[in-house]
């Protein structure tokens, strides 16, 4: 009797545990499929794939550097815009706003995260691009055109547009996690600072200082999201295979080249080169995300709800 009961429990636990173990299977499958698919390209180009700048389906010469460059620059630009705004908003929500209002604004910002990326793309393409083309970019060219960053013609479509759209998309990540981390820092920190005669702003500075690892984690997590973002970027970056220092020029990213050309790729080597880009993108985001999760876990002392919100 006793033995039978243990078995039933054991079977049940094994079934649920099996479902949990499937997660490893899924990740393994992603690794397996992307590796298997890129074998052809890896054999042909080796490490030169990462530094090559040619992308010519006709002569079958493929190099990923312009796309790696595009991904890094658009993501960096997005962070440059989103980090100060996101942290400022998080500090406002956690430290300054009253609880109720803070909760409402957080709710709105979470909704921002629920909007599908294709919608950001449509907006960036039809609204932001003409706006940049007629107002912002001519001004940048006229006043800052002496910098190589702002040289060229105002297309509206390009790296600048991609960076702005990406920044809008990653701000919710930065805000919601930084806010949680700030709320998790002990009240006594601020009270101690105030008791020592610090101003309110200085007391907030002390709290932000204590939350720094978690905020850094939030930023890296947002970076991971920006690196892999596909549809919005595909619509607004212009998709040209070139490396240009100017933010006004069109470019392409690793994800946008896959989205654009995968169904058009005719030869096995062409497909393989695109899959290798997916593999590189996968590895980069895994490393970035792994690092971010560890930071957030450490900063929140393993408090599960917060780590899950990330």
């Amino acid at each position: 009797m006793k033995a039978a009961r243990i078995t039933a429990d054991g079977v049940y636990r094994a079934a649920l545990g099996g479902a949990a173990a499937l997660v490893f299977g899924v990740v393994a499958l992603i690794v397996y499929e992307t590796t298997r698919g890129s074998v052809l390209s890896i054999q042909k180009f080796g490490l030169g794939f990462l530094t090559g700048t040619a992308w010519d389906p006709v002569t079958e010469k493929f190099g990923a550097l312009p796309y790696i460059y595009g991904t890094l620059v658009s993501s960096a630009l997005a962070l440059l815009i989103a980090v100060p705004l996101g942290i400022g908003t998080a500090v406002y929500l956690a430290e300054i706003a009253n609880r109720r209002f803070g909760a409402i604004v957080s709710f709105v910002i979470e909704l921002l995260a629920a909007i599908p990326s294709i919608v950001y793309g449509v907006w960036g393409f039809f609204v932001l691009a003409p706006f940049l083309r007629t107002w912002i970019e001519p001004w940048l060219i006229q006043h800052l055109g002496f910098l190589p960053l702002f040289r060229g013609a105002p297309f509206g479509i390009g790296m600048l547009n991609a960076g702005i759209v990406l920044s809008i998309m990653i701000v919710p990540t930065i805000v919601s996690i930084s806010r949680e981390v700030l709320l998790a820092t002990p009240r006594s920190l601020r009270e101690a600072a105030l008791a020592l005669g610090a101003t309110r702003a200085e007391a907030i500075g002390v709290a932000v200082d204590a939350a720094r690892p978690g905020i850094l984690g939030a930023v890296i997590l947002a970076l991971g999201r920006a690196l892999g973002e596909t549809m919005a970027v595909t619509m607004v970056i212009g998709n040209t295979n070139r490396i240009s220092l100017s933010l006004l020029d069109p470019g392409a990213t690793m994800s946008s080249i896959i989205a654009n050309e995968f169904t058009e790729a005719t030869s096995p080597l062409y497909v393989s080169a695109l899959i290798e880009i997916a593999l590189v993108l996968f590895l980069v985001t895994i490393v970035v995300n792994g690092l971010a999760r560890l930071l957030v876990l450490w900063a929140t002392g393993g408090r599960r709800a917060i780590a899950a919100a990330a």
Binding site: G18, I30, G88, I109, A114, V122, R225, T230, F262
Partner: protein, 266 residues
Amino acid sequence: MVIAGCYAAGIIVVLPLAFILGHLIAKGLPALSLSFFVDLPKPVGEPGGGMANAIVGTLILVGLGALIAVPVGVGAGVYLSEWGRSRFASLVRYTTDLLSGVPSIVVGVAAYGLVVMPMGGFSAIAGGVALSILMLPTIIRSTEEVVRLVPQSYREAALALGAPRWKVIQQVVIPAARAGIVTASMLAVARAAGETAPLLFTALGNRFWSTALNKPIASLPVQVFDYARAPYDEWNRQAWTGALVLVLMVTGISAVLRITVRRVAR
């Protein structure tokens, strides 16, 4: 000074949402009519037409994805909640979080190798598989959270009555958390409905009516993408309307669920 800066940041962050929603309504609403929901796309040059095939296609794809992801995800989530202290469980948790960070386009490439290549062509099934992988992490982690909320005394009471562990979980814990599990799953499913990238070369898209699971199938996000890039004003207008419908679908469900989840959690 610092405080004013934070205040300004908060305003700047909320502004884009207002702009995006404003433009969606202004540009999407005019073409929104009953025919958008019941008609098929018309050829270029002919006015009117709708995205009925894409709306149905999205429902089929999301349904397929949920069919795969919900049982697995709920099972794994319950496991993490009930036996969550082992090293195995923390490893599952960490891997799940990593999986949620994998770019959706990479998931699409994996599904291409996994389903499209062996089947010899693009299909609704391939799209469903890709979406299920994207749903999985959210379902697992939120199921874990809601099942954990079931009071410990329920489990103790059932165990004290002599029920074996599996009966306690299956007949007491899961029913008590049912509302939460359903909302958690729906949230993941709604999120997946807006995904475009993983469908581009799995489900592909279809200009015509198709509900066959082994054939390419239309989906709302992909149709919006194609229509937005097309050089025809009429299609661009429909892309806006499609985007509006998509946002209403996804955020509508998310907003309602978030509010009910908060209620339940209290």
